[in-house]
Assembly symmetry: C2
DNA sequence: AGCTTTATTGCAATCATTTGCATTAGCCAA
DNA sequence: TTGGCTAATGCAAATGATTGCAATAAAGCT
């Protein structure tokens, strides 16, 4: 073991120990090829041995960078919550991981914004090199305006037609398609679609739903599409409504696991068996989905990959590149409640 | 409307506009009483008018401050997860809110730490003025060592006997007590306690459980205490074990809502009715608790207040004050599944 | 050997702000 | 008027890194 030297805090000290100038140390640590390979190796070793850590404050100041990216959660607790809360936390974790690889930090926007444009005069804006928006909420227009500010930004969400910002999102059409096709393959013909098709993502899932129906030659019954918000309490009511109206159905595609669980609860309370009488598919694969009883078949978005790509797109922008949208694969996790065992 | 001037980015520019020196501007904006009140007012006005925003990078660099506090989530996905994921997100939000009031930012520690002491050489340590640990995990000892580093820190968790760090936490004893007493008041006598009493928080909740039993003169049956981890799949097994062993019970106090929901699932699958045959109480009040069927009575910790106090204690330390621990009130949210309607 | 070229390193300016100390201006008293 | 005092302001150093350009040394070429 090398003797544990007192920690060196300034490049100047390390330079003295190494017998070179500060410039050389700076370049050596930055991997600048100007510096002789041997010298560089020696300096890097010394830095490690003396436990030298660069002062990132000074570095960022000099480079006019922050090495921080801000994350804004576009959740609206009232009614338009993008999807389950669990989703946000997982996404946050995924982004933080992807960022740490690049030595970037994650700055969390304090509270849900009522207007995205407010960010312009906030710390979030000045103190970050770029911004990740998780979800679009109902602020597609504001996000478009925001993109004119030329701050590197990227949005997790659906690729709305007239967007001027870069989006990364799961393939909602395929998600809706897979869920629906799964039920169709199980022989179900009367499949409810639960999700508010005025919102960007449910709308695309609904497209997939229609596509699957068409493929199997099943006619769409518009009474079976229900604009239920992500908030789950409404789902039970919607199910009860259907039952009361004697509209029969044997399957349900839900736009979130919470909706699905709520629907299942309503169904079982009405004496129907899940999945025997009604097979249900959720969306998101929250932790509870696998443990609930009956366990829930659901569509999973690859959140880790999503976070990684969001970060990658943002970094590209920070480096001055132009970027294109990205659509991620989604997969179906088959469990019991969809009648598949 | 004053004509919108081009944005001033440097103090120097503002100084020129104001016809004073940079020093004066700096002092004026900082509210330094050396500066004549009129001059100060004039400068502040000019700053606002020209939309001048101080370069916080430069400022922090000069002041050797970061104006950032780091948050480390001590979750261990394997087995010791503190409580529901929802809890973390809510706590994170609460802390972020409390910090933004003080103009501090929140830096999220990327991934769960296997050893808290690793933080010492990480960005988290250098790039923050203080650290909030959410939960103790199994690292009480390391946290104690960490506190010797004299970095401002505060821990959300229970006040373990030999701690050298400052904690803020909910009153777990009262939480366990309230949950148990509630069931006792409903006439239940054989109450299962589901939670790993080797972990700090469940242990204290168990104390409250015992206290409630004693108060009602109910003898404790040690077969009814089950070391189930927060992870929920084990809860069903535990319940099934009890049923198989013909150990009868009519109530259950669970250390998380997920455990409770899992237990309820196992019970109903075995043909038992909840809450008629077995009344169940959870812990945390996750979103799902209110919507599940039957809806879940649970113990709620005041997370917003918790976040605020965590921040307050940390700020005090940053300012050089010494701080004391803090124990928050917890309350019981009564819903259907505990048999109360 | 003398000159040119190349590889490596060092000097010094720079980034935007804060702050100890010096300076100036204004005022009052002698 | 002049000296002394105070209130207000300015000068310049300092914070720790990066980088264009200059300088040096080594090597190659004739």
């Amino acid at each position: 073991m090398a003797k544990s030297s007192p920690r060196l805090t300034k490049m100047e000290e390390l330079a003295k120990v190494a017998g070179v100038s500060v410039s050389t140390v700076s370049r050596a640590l930055a991997g600048n090829p100007l510096i002789n390979a041997k010298t560089r190796a020696r300096i890097v070793d010394l830095a490690a041995k003396h436990n030298y850590q660069i002062n990132e404050n000074a570095r960022n100041f000099r480079l006019q960078k922050t090495n921080v990216i801000a994350v804004v959660l576009m959740l609206d607790v009232k009614s338009e919550q993008h999807t389950s809360d669990m989703f946000f936390l997982e996404m946050l974790g995924a982004i933080a991981d992807a960022l740490s690889v690049q030595n970037y930090d994650l700055l969390l926007a304090n509270s849900p914004m009522t207007n995205v444009l407010d960010i312009h005069n906030s710390r979030i804006f000045r103190q970050s090199d770029g911004i990740v928006f998780i979800g679009q909420g109902n602020q597609h227009k504001q996000l478009n305006e925001f993109s004119d500010l030329d701050k590197p930004m990227v949005v997790w969400g659906s690729n709305l037609p007239d967007r001027r910002y870069c989006t990364v999102g799961a393939d909602n059409v395929v998600g809706g398609y897979l869920a629906t096709k799964h039920l169709l393959n199980l022989g179900r013909k009367h499949i409810v679609f639960m999700g508010d098709i005025n919102m960007p993502e449910p709308k695309q899932r609904f497209e997939g739903y229609l596509k699957a129906l068409k493929e199997k030659g099943v006619k769409f019954d518009k009474r079976l599409q229900i604009d239920v918000p992500f908030e789950m309490s409404h789902a039970s009511e919607a199910i009860n409504d259907l039952l009361q109206q004697k509209i029969s159905f044997d399957g349900a595609v839900c736009c979130s696991d919470l909706i699905a669980l709520s629907a299942i609860a309503a169904l079982t309370e009405s004496g129907l068996r899940v999945p025997e009488d009604v097979a249900v598919v959720g969306y998101d694969d929250i932790a509870l989905a696998g443990y609930s009883s009956p366990s829930l078949t659901t569509v999973r978005q690859n959140i880790v990959q999503g976070g990684r790509i969001l970060v990658q797109k943002l970094m590209a922008q920070i480096n001055g590149d132009t970027v294109t949208d990205s659509v991620l694969k989604t997969e179906l996790i088959v469990r019991r409640s969809s009648g598949a065992w």
